[in-house]
C-alpha cells in the first residue's frame, strides 16, 4: 500500500504548477513547449491540456473527444516523458502537456463485455466466476491501479471481486469512467471496468437497502391520490399559481 500512495502523490505533484505566479501579468504569460503528437513535433502553449494541444496543432478530433471534462473516458492517451523509462496514461481533456512529451491517443479500446440478464443473477462470487472468469487470473501486479487516470484502487476491487465482495467492488469502482486504460495494460487480460459495472448493477439491484418511503409513494400514485390536486394546479390561473408559488414554505 505504501508504494501505491507514493505513486498517487507523485502524480498529483506532477499536475501542480511548479511555482506560484505572483501578479496577473506573470500568471497570464504564455510559454510554449514542444510535444510530439504521434511522433511529430508541435509547438503548443505550455499551459494547454493534451486535447487543447492536439486541436491547437490543427487536428480535427473525431474519435478521442467526448465530454471534455473527465467523465466519459473517450480521450484515453498514452505518453512518455524525456529521460523517463515509464509509460504514462491520462485523459487528454484533463492532463497538461509537458516539455518533450511524446503522446498518442487511443481511438478505441477493445474490451469484451459479458451478456447477461440481470434479473437472473445472484450478487455473489459465482456470478463473477461465470461471467468474468479471467478475473481469477489476476496476478496482483497493480499495473491497473497505476494506469488509472482517476486514481482508483483498481487492483483492490479486482481482488474484492475474487472474494465476491460486491459492495467493495461497487465502492472502489464507483468513480470509474470506463476509459479502458486498466484493461489495455493488464497482463492477465481482465476488463476491469466491466467487472466494476457488473458489481455496481448487482449492488444497486440486490444489495442496497430499499426505501420504505419510496414504496409508499408509488402506492399513493398508483391509487390516484394526487389526481385532484394536479387537476386543480393544472387549470389554475397564472396569477393564482404565481401567488401560491411565492407563498410556499421552504424545507430547511
Amino acid at each position: 500500500m505504501a508504494t501505491e500512495t507514493a505513486t498517487k502523490k507523485e502524480l498529483t505533484q506532477r499536475f501542480k504548477p511548479k511555482v506560484k505566479a505572483k501578479g496577473k501579468k506573470e500568471a497570464a504569460e504564455k510559454d510554449f513547449v514542444t510535444v510530439f503528437i504521434m511522433g511529430k513535433a508541435h509547438q503548443v502553449p505550455a499551459e494547454a491540456t493534451i486535447m487543447g494541444a492536439i486541436e491547437y496543432a490543427g487536428y480535427l478530433i473525431k474519435r478521442g473527444a467526448g465530454c471534455r471534462e473527465g467523465f466519459c473516458g473517450a480521450c484515453a492517451t498514452v505518453y512518455r516523458l524525456p529521460g523517463d523509462y515509464k509509460i504514462y496514461t491520462g485523459l487528454a481533456c484533463t492532463t497538461l502537456v509537458e516539455e518533450g512529451m511524446w503522446l498518442s491517443q487511443l481511438p478505441a479500446i477493445p474490451g469484451q463485455k459479458a451478456l447477461y440478464d440481470l434479473d437472473k443473477l445472484d450478487p455473489n462470487v459465482a456470478t463473477i466466476q461465470k461471467l468474468y472468469p479471467e478475473v481469477f487470473r489476476c496476478v496482483a501486479c497493480n499495473t491497473c491501479t497505476k494506469a488509472c487516470p482517476q486514481d482508483l484502487e483498481v487492483m483492490d476491487y479486482i481482488q474484492a471481486a475474487k472474494r465476491g465482495d460486491i459492495e467493495k467492488v461497487m465502492d472502489l469502482s464507483f468513480d470509474c469512467i470506463c476509459c479502458g486504460m486498466c484493461a489495455i495494460r493488464c497482463p492477465a487480460e481482465i476488463v476491469q471496468y466491466n467487472v466494476g459495472l457488473l458489481a455496481k448493477r448487482l449492488y444497486g439491484k440486490y444489495l442496497s437497502k430499499k426505501s420504505p418511503e419510496l414504496r409508499k409513494r408509488l402506492k399513493e400514485i398508483k391509487s390516484h391520490e394526487f389526481d385532484s390536486e394536479y387537476k386543480e394546479l393544472m387549470t389554475m390561473k397564472k396569477d393564482k399559481l404565481k401567488k401560491k408559488y411565492y407563498e410556499r414554505d421552504l424545507e430547511s
Partner: protein, 555 residues
C-alpha cells in the same frame, strides 16, 4: 493554485466563514430569496437572453416570424448536407421498427422500453454510445419521494422555476413519473446515495422548496447512463447500435409520416438510409454552438442537430428564445474554463461570495436568476475577482460544506469536483472555487405532448431536444428526470405506434422544398447544418490549409 494577487480576497472569504457557518446552521435562509419583482428585474437587466442581439426573427419554417436565439436561427436558416435526388429510397440500407437518433440518456432509456414492448430498434449516434450531456450531470435527479413532498409540490416548483411557461401536461408527467423512475433505475442497478435505513438521501437544488435531489455521489449521470448503456448492450439482437453515424436528415413518406433517416458515417464518409416505422429523436442540446460566445459545460457533440432536421421536416419548436446559463461554471484555471461545477455544491451548503467574501444572493435561486445575480455582481457592482486571462468570477465557498456536513464529506460526495481542481493544485476542501455562468442547457426545443408526439406523425422527441417541459428555465435535477421520464414514454408510445402504422413511399421531398423556401425568403447563406462537430481549428492553421474543403465545420 491561485496566483498571489488573489490572496487578500481569499483571506476575506476565510475570515467571514465562521459567521456564515453560524447563520447557515441556524436553518434560516442565509440571504433573503428574491421576490417575483426582484427576479424579473435582475433577469431583464443581466440575463444574456435579454440583450437585443441575442434573438432574431426566423425567416422560414413552422416558427417563421418568431424571435429565437440568434445562433439557433443561423443553423435553421441553412443548407442540407445532402442532395435528396441521389438517394434510392426504395431499397433502404437498414430497416427497423424504431430509429432512435442519439445514444444518450433519452435514447438508451427509450430503446430499453421499446424492446420490452417487442419493438426492435437502431440507435444511431454521432460519437460513441453514451457520449452525451447525460454522462456529465453531476448533482442529481429530482423526484418527490419524501412524505413532506407530494409530487404536486414538485410540480409547483418546476412551474415557478420555468416562469409558469411550462406545458402543464408535461410537468405532470415529469413529476408524477419521478418516483417510479427512481425505482426503475434501482432495479436496473443504479446505486443511489442512501441513508442508513434505506431511505433516499435527498438535498436541495436551486428553486426547490423540498429536499428531493437524488444523487450517486457527484457521478449521478455517469452511473445512470452507464447502467442504461450496459442494459442496451445486453441485447444486441434487439437493439443495434451504430456509432459515429449521425442522422443528417429525416426521411418522410408520401403520407407526411416520419419514416426514418439518412445516416452519415463520420469515418468512411458514406451515407446510408434507414427505413423505420417510428423515429425517436433524442439528440440533446446545443452548448457547442457557443451562444453569445460563452464557454459551455456541454459535451463535444452538442450542436443542436436534432432541431435542424426536425425543423426541415416541419416540426414546431417551442421556447427557442431561451438559453440556460449554469451559474457555476469554472473560470479558473483557464484549462477548465466553462466546466460544470455541480449545483449540488450549493445544495450541500456551498455559498457564492463576492471579492469581499460577502454573500450577495440567496445561494439557491432558480438558475437563470442566480446566474443573472452573478453577472450583476461582477459587471455592474464590480465585485468580481479577475483571473489572469481577464475573465471575472465570484467565489463558491466549498470549505464551508465540511463545516456543515462533517469532515471528509467532500471526498465522499464530490470526488469528481475534488479531482477536477486538485490537478491544478487547488484543494476545494480548503479553498473556494472561482465561478461564472457557463452555457449549459437548451430550455426550449421541439414541441411535444405527454406521449412525446410531435406535429409530425411517427416522430417522437425526448430529452433536451424537446421543448415545453421546463418552460423558459429548467431547475437543477429536472433534466436527468426529463430524459428518463420522456425517454421511457417515447419508447412506449413509439413501440405501440409501430404496431398499427403503414408507411407509404419514402421521400426526401421536404429537403428540396425547404431549399426552395430559403430562396423564396431571400435567405442567402453558405451555412450548412446539422453542424455535427464544432470547429476548434486555429485561424492560422486554417489559412495554411490551402487545399482543404470544408462542408460547414467539417473537412
Amino acid at each position: 493554485m491561485y496566483p498571489e494577487y488573489m490572496n487578500p480576497s481569499l483571506d476575506k472569504v476565510a475570515q467571514s466563514r465562521n459567521k456564515r457557518f453560524e447563520l447557515a446552521k441556524s436553518g434560516k435562509p442565509v440571504f433573503p430569496p428574491m421576490s417575483a419583482e426582484e427576479r424579473e428585474e435582475v433577469l431583464r437587466k443581466f440575463h444574456p437572453d435579454y440583450k437585443p442581439e441575442s434573438r432574431r426573427k426566423i425567416g422560414i419554417g413552422p416558427n417563421k416570424g418568431e424571435l429565437i436565439t440568434t445562433e439557433v436561427a443561423d443553423i435553421l436558416e441553412s443548407h442540407s448536407r445532402i442532395s435528396p435526388d441521389v438517394f434510392d429510397l426504395s431499397v433502404p440500407d437498414y430497416e427497423t421498427d424504431i430509429l432512435i437518433i442519439g445514444g444518450g440518456g433519452a435514447g438508451t432509456a427509450s430503446a430499453i422500453i421499446a424492446m420490452q414492448q417487442g419493438a426492435k430498434s437502431i440507435i444511431s449516434t454521432k460519437l460513441r454510445l453514451g457520449d452525451a450531456n447525460s454522462m456529465m450531470s453531476q448533482g442529481g435527479m429530482q423526484a418527490a419521494v419524501t412524505p413532506q413532498d407530494p409530487p404536486t409540490r414538485h410540480y409547483l416548483d418546476a412551474m415557478g422555476g420555468g416562469h409558469f411557461d411550462n406545458k402543464p401536461e408535461l410537468v405532470r408527467a415529469l413529476t408524477e413519473d419521478g418516483p417510479d423512475v427512481v425505482k426503475w433505475l434501482e432495479e436496473l442497478g443504479v446505486v443511489w446515495d442512501k441513508n442508513e435505513d434505506g431511505t433516499m438521501q435527498v438535498l436541495h437544488g436551486g428553486g426547490t422548496s423540498r429536499k428531493r435531489m437524488h444523487s450517486c455521489r457527484d457521478y449521478t449521470g455517469a452511473i445512470i447512463l452507464r447502467t442504461l448503456m450496459d442494459e442496451v448492450r445486453n441485447h444486441p439482437d434487439k437493439i443495434i447500435v451504430l456509432e459515429f453515424m449521425p442522422v443528417v436528415e429525416l426521411i418522410m413518406d408520401n403520407k407526411g409520416q416520419c419514416a426514418g433517416g439518412v445516416l452519415y458515417n463520420l469515418e468512411t464518409e458514406e451515407y446510408f438510409t434507414v427505413k423505420a416505422k417510428a423515429t425517436i429523436l433524442a439528440t440533446g442540446g446545443y452548448g457547442r454552438l457557443h451562444i453569445r460566445a460563452f464557454d459551455t459545460t456541454n459535451h463535444y457533440g452538442a450542436t443542436g442537430d436534432g432541431l435542424v432536421i426536425a425543423y426541415r421536416a416541419g416540426a414546431k419548436l417551442l421556447y427557442m428564445d431561451s438559453v440556460q446559463y449554469h451559474p457555476t461554471g469554472a473560470v479558473f484555471p483557464e484549462q477548465i474554463a466553462g466546466f460544470l461545477i455541480t449545483e449540488k455544491i450549493r445544495g450541500a451548503g456551498g455559498q457564492p461570495l463576492n471579492k469581499s467574501g460577502e454573500l450577495f444572493v440567496f445561494p439557491r435561486e432558480p438558475r437563470d436568476v442566480e446566474s443573472s445575480a452573478f453577472i450583476r455582481e461582477c459587471i455592474e457592482r464590480k465585485n468580481g475577482i479577475e483571473t489572469p486571462s481577464h475573465r471575472v468570477g465570484v467565489w463558491l465557498d466549498s470549505p464551508l460544506i465540511e463545516m456543515l456536513q462533517g469532515e471528509s464529506y467532500i471526498n465522499k460526495q464530490f470526488p469528481a469536483m475534488h479531482r477536477q481542481f486538485i490537478r491544478y493544485g487547488i484543494d476545494i476542501t480548503e479553498e473556494p472555487m472561482l465561478v461564472y455562468p457557463s452555457l449549459h442547457y437548451q430550455n426550449g426545443g421541439i414541441e411535444i405532448n405527454a406521449k412525446c408526439e410531435t406535429s409530425i406523425p411517427g416522430l417522437y422527441v425526448a430529452g433536451e431536444a424537446s421543448g415545453g417541459v421546463h418552460g423558459r428555465n429548467r431547475l437543477m435535477g429536472n433534466s436527468v428526470l426529463d430524459y428518463n421520464v420522456f425517454g421511457r414514454r417515447a419508447g412506449l408510445y413509439a413501440a405501440q405506434y409501430t404496431k398499427s402504422v403503414r408507411l407509404g413511399d419514402l421521400s426526401l421531398k421536404h429537403i428540396s422544398e425547404y431549399e426552395q423556401a430559403l430562396k423564396k425568403a431571400r435567405i442567402k447563406t453558405d451555412r450548412i447544418a446539422p453542424v455535427l462537430l464544432p470547429s476548434y481549428t486555429p485561424e492560422d492553421v486554417r489559412k495554411r490549409q490551402l487545399t482543404a474543403h470544408y462542408e460547414g465545420t467539417l473537412r
